[in-house]
Structure formats: C-alpha cells, structure tokens
Amino acid sequence: MNAVQPTPSGQPTPSERLSGAQPAPQRAELLEFIAFMGALCLFFSTLEYLFPKPFPFFRLGLANLPVLIAMKLVPMRYVLLLVLLKVLGHGLINGTLASYVFLFSFGGSFASVFVMLGVYRLAGRHISLVGISVFGAIASNVVQIYLSVTFIFGLTAWVIAPLFVGLGVFSGVLVGLFAQQFYEQSRWLEGIRGYFAAS
C-alpha cells in the first residue's frame, strides 16, 4: 500500500489531495484519522453547552456527528475504536472517568454505535444519516434509562422513559440532518472520502 508521502518542503496542498486517484491508506493513517475524529467528538461535545437544555439530563448528542460520518468512511473496528476514544477522552477531560457518568456514557455510546452499524449494514444505501442517527439516539436513550433504573432511580423511573425516548428521537433527527448536510457539502470531507475510498 502506498500512503501519500509529505513533500520535503511541507505538505501536499488540499487541491493536490483532492485531485485524481488516491492510494489506499495505511493502518497508521487510519489510526491518525480516528484520533482526529476523536478530537472532533470532544470538540462537538464542548459546543453542546452553547445550546439551552430543556431538562438537566438532556443532551443533543453532537459528539455523535464524527461517529456517524466515520461509519461511511472507515471499517467497523475503527468506528468502535473512535467511540472508545470518545468516551475515554470525554471522561478524562471532564473528570468523570471514575463515576456513574462514565458508565452511562460508555453504555449509551456503545449501544448507539452497535445499533447504527447494524442498521447501516442492513439498510445500506436505503437509509440516510438521519435514519441511522435516530436509531442510534433511541438505542442510547433506552440503555441509559435502563442503567438509571438499575443503578440510580429504581423501577419507578420507567415513567420518564417515553419522554426521554421522544427527546432522543428529536435530537437524533437534528444531529442526523446536520451530519447529512455536512457529508454532502463539506469539501474537506470530499477529500477525505476520496482518500479513504481506496481502503
């Protein structure tokens, strides 16, 4: 496999990257890309605080954006690695790694990615990123409600399940819409797509 080699004087320009056939990426390149996408997950989770929350425990799930996009670009095991980096990075930055918040984040994120990958595999081109995102958001919310019932609130907490699943669908649609738009319009992603299409 021939990865693109940087020129001695610097890096290839974006136009050089975007033009013509591109070689298949090496494993190191894929890992580097996943690390970058992990950083974008953390970045989008910091943007989340800019939006008002209708409920204290509600999250839009913007950090899921890079995961949604990565699903279309890299093999499944790298998507799972990205999710692991996302939850660990989030736990380290926020200091919640040793608390129940991490358990919820871990459970919700992995439930979401397994469902999204499954749906994407089954439906392929027949489902948009909006649909995948909604499935992921529902899975994440159901698992988090289950964890909160089991570890924190007790059985009576199931009464809030419809509300939280409803909010999950709403946030899933919003995140999915933005992911779809970004996937179709971003020139940066177009270059990345061309590069990783060879893998």
């Binding site: 990865a3 693109v4 080699q5 940087p6 890096q11 290839p12 974006p14 990257r17 591109q22 990426p25 190191a28 390149e29 890992l31 580097e32 890309f33 996943i34 690390a35 970058f36 992990g38 950083a39 974008l40 953390l42 970045f43 910091t46 943007l47 204290p56 690695l81 692991l84 980096l85 660990l88 990075g89 736990g91 380290l92 930055i93 926020n94 200091g95 919640t96 790694l97 040793a98 608390s99 129940y100 918040v101 991490f102 924190i152 609130f153 007790g154 059985l155 009576t156 907490a157 738009q181 970004f182 319009q185 971003s186 020139r187 940066w188 270059g191 990345i192 590069y195 990783f196």
Partner: protein
C-alpha cells in the same frame, strides 16, 4: 511560563496526575464504607472543594436536582416508619434515608472523579498513546473555535479542518510538561486519605 504555572489550580501544581488518580482511588472505598450519612455529606462537600482545587467548576444545581430526583423516586417504594403523608403517598423513614444515601453517594463519586482525574493523566499502552493524539488534535481544534461562523457553518468548519488534518500528513507528538508530586502534595494526599479512612472507623451509623 511562570505566569501560567501560577494560574494553575492547586492540584495541578502539587500532584502528578497518576498520584492524584491514586488518591481518588483510595478515597472511593473510604467514602463508600462510611456508615454515617452526615459524615458522608461532609465528605461530599470536601470532595467538591477538592474538585474546585483541581480546576473544575461545580454545577451545584445539577447535583441538587440529582439528589432530589433520586430521593423522590426512592420514596415511591416505602418502607420503615411513616413520617408523614402527602396525598396518597406515605413518606417513610427507610425510603427517605435510603434515597438520600443513594443520591449523596452518586454525587460524591462524581466529585471524587472530578477531583482526581485530569486530562494529562496518561493511560498505559497503545490506547493511551491514541488518547494522547486525540488531545493533541483537540487543543488545535479548540483554537479554531472562534472562527466558526453560524451563518456559513460548513464553510467555516471546512477552513479549520483543512488546516488541521489532511490524510497522509503526520504531525509531531506534542508532549506536555511532566508534572511531579511536591512534598506538600504528598502531605495533602496522606492527610486526605488518612482522614477519610479514620472517619470510616470513628463515625457511628445513623438511623439504627
């Protein structure tokens, strides 16, 4: 450099990240084995103070809502002596105490975590190396945050992304300064762990 070090929170100046993590790991069982609810509340306040000393901002309203909601949900499973009734619901001592204990414990564990974990804590192995790369890029992405324009969101994001990552390009590893634990840090660590473990044996349980 001296200026930035002066601005660092107390924990960052006096604790190596792995020693801070170890302190948290030793505090957790001392907190969980604490039989007295009032002492446990005191520990929660201490941990909140430590989290602040670690540079974390405590959102009290979030934690008040957390303890209240856990307690309220617990009240729906009554047991023990009836204290009073609210409409059809009997408020029992057992349910109230158990709900408060659970809520306070959950919040305390979050505070210990906030107090003992810093982004420069390096996890071992290749996964730790990957996390290091994530933080390397994260710091650079954050620098571009102010250049995001909501009206031309995708274009402005593209500009930043083009600057930060192009496939095939590998950037130098950015190693942060290595922190070591000071004498004051070791003393604080011994005092915190000693105090919290002593309270396990000295405090008597309440509600019995």
């Amino acid at each position: 450099m001296a200026t930035s070090q002066r601005r660092d929170p107390f924990m960052a100046r006096h604790f190596a990240p792995q020693h801070l993590f170890l302190t948290g790991a030793l505090l957790i069982p001392a907190f969980l084995f604490q039989p007295n609810l009032f002492v446990r509340v005191g520990q929660v306040l201490l941990f909140a103070q430590l989290a602040t000393a670690n540079g974390k901002r405590i959102k009290w309203i979030y934690f008040v809502v957390m303890v209240s909601s856990v307690t309220v949900f617990n009240l729906f499973t009554p047991f023990g002596e009836i204290l009073f009734t609210v409409g059809p619901l009997s408020i029992t001592r057992g349910a109230l105490q158990s709900g408060l204990e659970k809520g306070v414990t959950i919040v305390g564990l979050v505070f210990v975590s906030l107090a003992s974990i810093r982004p420069d804590l390096r996890l071992p192995g290749r996964l730790g190396g990957m996390i290091g790369r994530v933080f390397y890029y994260f710091e650079r992405v954050i620098e571009g945050k102010k250049r995001i324009r909501p009206r031309r969101l995708i274009e402005s994001l593209d500009e930043i992304l083009f600057e930060l990552y192009r496939p095939g390009e590998r950037r130098a590893e950015a190693d942060g300064p290595l922190r070591s634990t000071t004498t004051l840090g070791y003393a604080a660590m011994a005092m915190l762990v000693g105090l919290n473990w002593a309270l396990v044996f000295l405090a008597s349980p309440i509600g019995t």
